[in-house]
């Protein structure tokens, strides 16, 4: 575009094009449909590819994976999951302005501020809210879902690396929105089991 502007800019000796519109006459209609159709079809091809790509992504994102991926970490840990009996299912409840992490299983309990998970095991999260709209997101693992009062949104991910990660709220939920954070601690499997059994 910059090239075209410079190439066709007005110079002292340049003439008006033959079809310059003038006052007193509606200008002729100009423009080949052909050129537009060509660019349009090119974009359509790209766009259709995008759509199918997205479909694959939608299926992956919204359907928790099969049991083969999951570790049966703790006996009975995720038995209540209808979609996949092997995956640990953890309830996450948004409050103004903190998250509840409810672990299932024999040592069921609720944590705030620190969310512990074993490395390399698929987890399914059921996210909801007790008051207003929140949005639960862990950027390093590219997961995010709204926490909506009255409904549960399910997402899943594999914490593939140990370490500490930031959990943030991505929907303006009130005056404490900016500090509605928590830490995700991904632990080696033995230390996770040790921690879980000691709670």
């Amino acid at each position: 575009m910059a090239f075209l502007i410079i190439k066709y800019r007005e110079k002292k000796n340049s003439q008006d094009p033959d079809d310059t519109p003038r006052l007193g006459r509606i200008p002729i209609v100009r423009g080949h449909g052909r050129n537009l159709v060509i660019t349009l079809s090119l974009s359509t091809i790209i766009v259709v590819a995008l759509i199918f790509g997205s479909f694959a992504a939608v299926d992956t994102l919204l359907t928790p994976p099969n049991g083969t991926w999951c570790y049966g970490l703790v006996p009975g840990y995720g038995a209540s999951s209808p979609l996949n009996p092997d995956c640990p299912r953890i309830d996450i409840i948004g409050h103004q302005f903190y998250w509840d992490f409810r672990y299932p299983g024999p040592h069921a309990h609720t944590d705030k501020y620190v969310f512990r998970l074993p490395v390399n095991g698929t987890v399914v999260l059921d996210v909801t809210s007790s008051d207003v709209f929140h949005d639960f997101g862990i950027i390093p693992f590219k997961i995010k879902t709204d926490a909506v009062p009255g409904r549960t949104n399910t997402i899943w991910f594999v914490p593939y690396q140990t370490g500490n990660y930031l959990i943030q709220c991505f929907e303006l939920c009130g005056q404490g929105h900016y500090y509605m954070n928590a830490t995700l601690t991904v632990m080696p499997v033995p230390s996770f089991q040790q921690w879980y059994n000691s709670t």
Partner: protein
């Protein structure tokens, strides 16, 4: 022939109905709100420039975020564009004013007072502080007990009223008042863009109005449409975004139309593929109503819906692809004059491309999961709304400034303004694309997040962009007095407004031009007018055929707007006496009564005033040739009402299907009384028809009797309704606050009841005039218009009766 801008008496501006003066009022007011909202943004940028800053408290920051968004979207972008539309479109289509000049003035005053209400909310216990999307249930009384939100909601309701009146007005004008021979296809792109925008406004805003009404009632009377856990939150999301996505194009399209016309003018060639651009706009407008789900990809709308919205959302990028390509192609073999307006237009196209492509990123669900709620989104929509819309509209300001004032601005200063704005803009928003992990709307952040450098950069850019706008104001203000005279057509453009002196006289055209089959214009019976050469400076137009001068002063529009403002302020500013009760309806009665009484007087004065609107004959008015202006206006208004009731009924369906239990048929309502009301209303439709027939044949007694019967039947309907309400209320099972069945019933039938009541007031007015002997024979139009409205109200009941009583 440049005229001095005479400092006019204030009353001229207060009471004006001239489209050009109202256009100027719109432009100036929207620039005022632009500065106000811009200052809010700069304060926020300052707060975010360094980590752990405490310039703004979280409360204040959230208010600034919200009001900045609301002001820019509702009070800046659209009104800025409609300032131009008011001024230019009648000139471009060869009309002498809009179809309803007083209604136009009223739209402006509603716009002004609505903005005043929004800004006043800061002083009334805190402005809305939950984002411009006003997500439920945070809007409920429980989470936001301040009255600032009530006042803000009143402001929003008032501006929706303003926008609806405006859209009806423009639609009738553009369909019914084009110069003879001017087909729709002859219109430049800017009027087309406005036309498409109006259609979107007509069908998007009623949805928002219904949502606001339900929200206000929730807050004022403790009902719970949006705060119920049976899907209330999602109901708001759906209704809001059904409006919200078209709204994005509503603020964008006028700028696109303007850019397209400016490109044609400054490239000295006809716009490449203009009909494809217009076609694309229409396509994008239609698709915009079925893409709202993409705002809810991570809200949980199910697999199938997600896929459907992905398809529509990605598809909607194609029409924009056509528009951009056609604009770029226009440059080929052109002779580009890089005036300020051309720079702004071409700059806007470039920024729009960046904004558009990043939009396609967000349409992909996978990326949306990563990017939702981050600064990437903020960057994306600012590239569209500021980069394309504001830059394009500022270009329009430079483009039409000579036409509006008769003076040239300083070209050099304007170019510096462009360069500073363009560079400042990119320093301001580009870093935000890189802040992929920073949540939106946080008021501060920790130093260890790594966001500090980019934020500081963005703030610096913000100040460059903000300070650059001072150049605009200095330039235009100084040029108003000192600019060299511009002459009628400084840009050698072809559209009709440039055939008039700058500024045009009050009546615009001495003689209305006609457009011949071959596309040449003729002014009056002056066929010798040389085509294609443009007017020499200062020449008189046409041959001076007598025209009706539009005096156009009316005090009533501003009074009506002011009384509505007083009334709404009165019902929203009362502090609840008991904070633990979820009911904030504590009207401040002096204001409410003042507003109501003044409103009645003003409306009466408005309808009695002898205000003559000259309707040109022989204008081009396809496809509504045989429909008079007022009737077309009423049909359009009823079209918007259909959406309004559609959303109310849709909301009822939504809460009902989402509720685990619902009272059985017959357990709540007497089917008999519902049946009686249906019968009464249907009979009244019949009497309304009889009234029309009597008026047409000139039978005064028949007219009197039919109107009286209609009135009586309306009263009986309201009487049965009131009894039912009282019965349900006093028997306790059914108070407004005790359940969704009651909430939805009282709201939906209540709104319908208000419509019936308004119909009764109209019949009374008609009756009084009938006694004075009006409406007979050829004068039956008022009766017909009332009939249209009345039948509509009856049809709504025909839907409500089975929905509430029978299923």
């Amino acid at each position: 022939m440049s005229q001095e801008i005479v400092p006019a008496r204030i009353s001229r501006w207060l009471f004006t109905t001239n489209h050009k003066e109202i256009g100027i009022l719109y432009t100036i007011t929207s620039l005022f709100f632009f500065v106000a909202a811009g200052l809010l943004a700069l304060t926020m940028r300052t707060q975010l420039s360094v980590p752990d800053n405490n310039l703004l408290s979280p409360e204040l920051y959230n208010q600034f975020v919200t009001v900045h968004g609301l002001l820019m979207i509702f009070w800046v972008l659209s009104p800025f564009a409609f300032g131009f539309a008011n001024y230019i479109i009648p000139l471009q289509i060869g009309a002498r004013d809009l179809a309803f000049p007083r209604l136009n003035a009223m739209s402006y005053w509603f716009y002004l007072v609505s903005g005043a209400a929004m800004i006043m909310s800061f002083a009334l216990g805190g402005a809305p502080d939950l984002g411009w999307t006003l997500y439920s249930p945070q809007t409920s009384f429980k989470f936001t007990p301040t009255i600032g939100l009530n006042v803000g909601a009143a402001g929003l309701i008032l501006i929706v009223v303003s926008i609806t009146m405006s859209s009806v007005n423009f639609l009738v004008t553009m369909f019914k008042m084009r110069a003879p021979g001017m087909k729709l296809k002859h219109m430049p792109v800017f009027p087309w863009a406005i036309l498409v925008t109006i259609f979107m406004m007509l069908y998007a805003f009623p949805s928002f109005l219904a949502a606001l009404l339900l929200l206000y009632v929730d807050r004022a009377f403790g009902t719970f449409y949006f705060s119920s856990i049976q899907g209330g939150a999602l109901l708001w999301d759906n209704v809001f975004w059904f409006f919200g996505h078209p709204e994005v194009y509503i603020v964008l399209f006028p700028a696109i139309g303007l850019i397209a016309d400016a490109i044609s003018t400054y490239t000295r060639r006809p716009l490449y593929g203009s009909k494809y651009i217009i076609g694309s706009m229409v396509a994008a407008a239609i698709i915009s109503f079925i893409v709202w789900g993409h705002h809810m990809f991570v809200t949980g709308i199910g697999l199938t819906s997600t896929k459907l919205y992905t398809v529509t959302t990605i598809a909607v990028s194609l029409p924009f692809d056509v528009m951009v390509i056609a604009m770029v192609e226009s440059l080929v073999k052109a002779r580009v004059r890089l005036k300020a307006a051309a720079l702004f237009s071409l700059g806007a196209v470039a920024l729009f491309v960046i904004g558009g492509i990043t939009g396609v990123y967000l349409a992909s669900v996978a990326l949306d999961h990563a990017l939702r709620g981050t600064y990437f989104v903020v960057a994306h929509f600012h590239y569209i709304m500021v980069g394309a819309s504001i830059m394009g509209l500022i270009g329009g300001l430079y483009y039409w400034f000579p036409k509006m004032t008769g003076r040239m601005y300083d070209e050099g200063l304007a170019k510096i303004h462009f360069i500073a704005s363009f560079i400042g803009f990119n320093i301001l928003y580009f870093p935000m694309f890189l802040l992929l992990d920073m949540p939106r709307r946080i008021d501060t952040y920790a130093p260890n997040t790594g966001w500090a450098t980019l934020n500081l950069m963005s703030t610096v850019g913000g100040f460059i962009f903000g300070l650059a706008q001072i150049l605009l104001f200095v330039n235009l203000f100084a040029s108003l007095r000192r600019g060299s005279p511009s002459g009628p057509n400084p840009w050698e453009a072809w559209t009709l407004e440039w055939s008039l002196p700058s500024p045009p006289p009050a009546h615009d055209f001495d003689t209305i031009p006609t457009i011949a089959e071959d596309g040449t214009y003729h002014f009056g019976n002056n066929p010798g007018y040389p085509n294609g050469s443009g007017y020499p400076n200062g020449s008189k137009i046409g041959n001076g055929i007598a025209y009706s001068h539009l005096e156009g002063q009316s005090p009533w529009p501003i009074v009506v707007a002011f009384s509505a403002f007083t009334f709404f302020l009165g019902i929203t500013i009362g502090q609840p006496s008991n904070p633990s009760v979820p009911v904030t309806f504590q009207p401040f009665w002096p204001l409410v009564l003042d507003g109501a009484i003044l409103g009645v007087i003003a409306l009466y004065g408005y309808s009695k005033e002898r205000f003559h609107v000259h309707e040109e004959t022989n204008v081009e008015s396809w496809p509504f040739r045989d429909v008079p202006n007022v009737k077309l206006g009423i049909w359009t208004f009823l079209g918007a009402e259909v959406i309004f009731f559609g959303v109310l009924i849709g909301a009822y369906f939504f809460v009902r299907t989402n509720s685990p239990t619902w009272p059985a048929v017959g357990s709540l309502f007497e089917v008999r009384s519902g049946f009686a009301m249906t019968l009464v209303l249907l009979t009244s439709s019949l009497t309304a028809i009889m009234a029309l027939v009597s008026a047409k044949i000139g039978s005064r007694n028949g007219l009197m009797a039919s109107l009286l019967a209609t009135f009586g039947l309306g009263v009986s309907f309201l009487y049965i309704k009131a009894n039912e309400w009282i019965f349900l209320g006093t028997h306790g099972v059914f108070s407004v606050a005790n359940g969704l069945p009651a909430t939805s019933y009282f709201i939906t039938t209540g709104v319908h009841g208000v419509h019936v009541f308004a119909g009764m007031l109209m019949t009374l007015y008609l009756l009084v005039n009938t006694v004075k002997g009006r409406y007979l024979k050829g004068d039956y139009h008022a009766i017909e218009h009332f009939g249209l409205y009345w039948h509509f109200v009856d049809i709504v009941w025909v839907f409500l009766f089975p929905l509430f009583y029978l299923i």
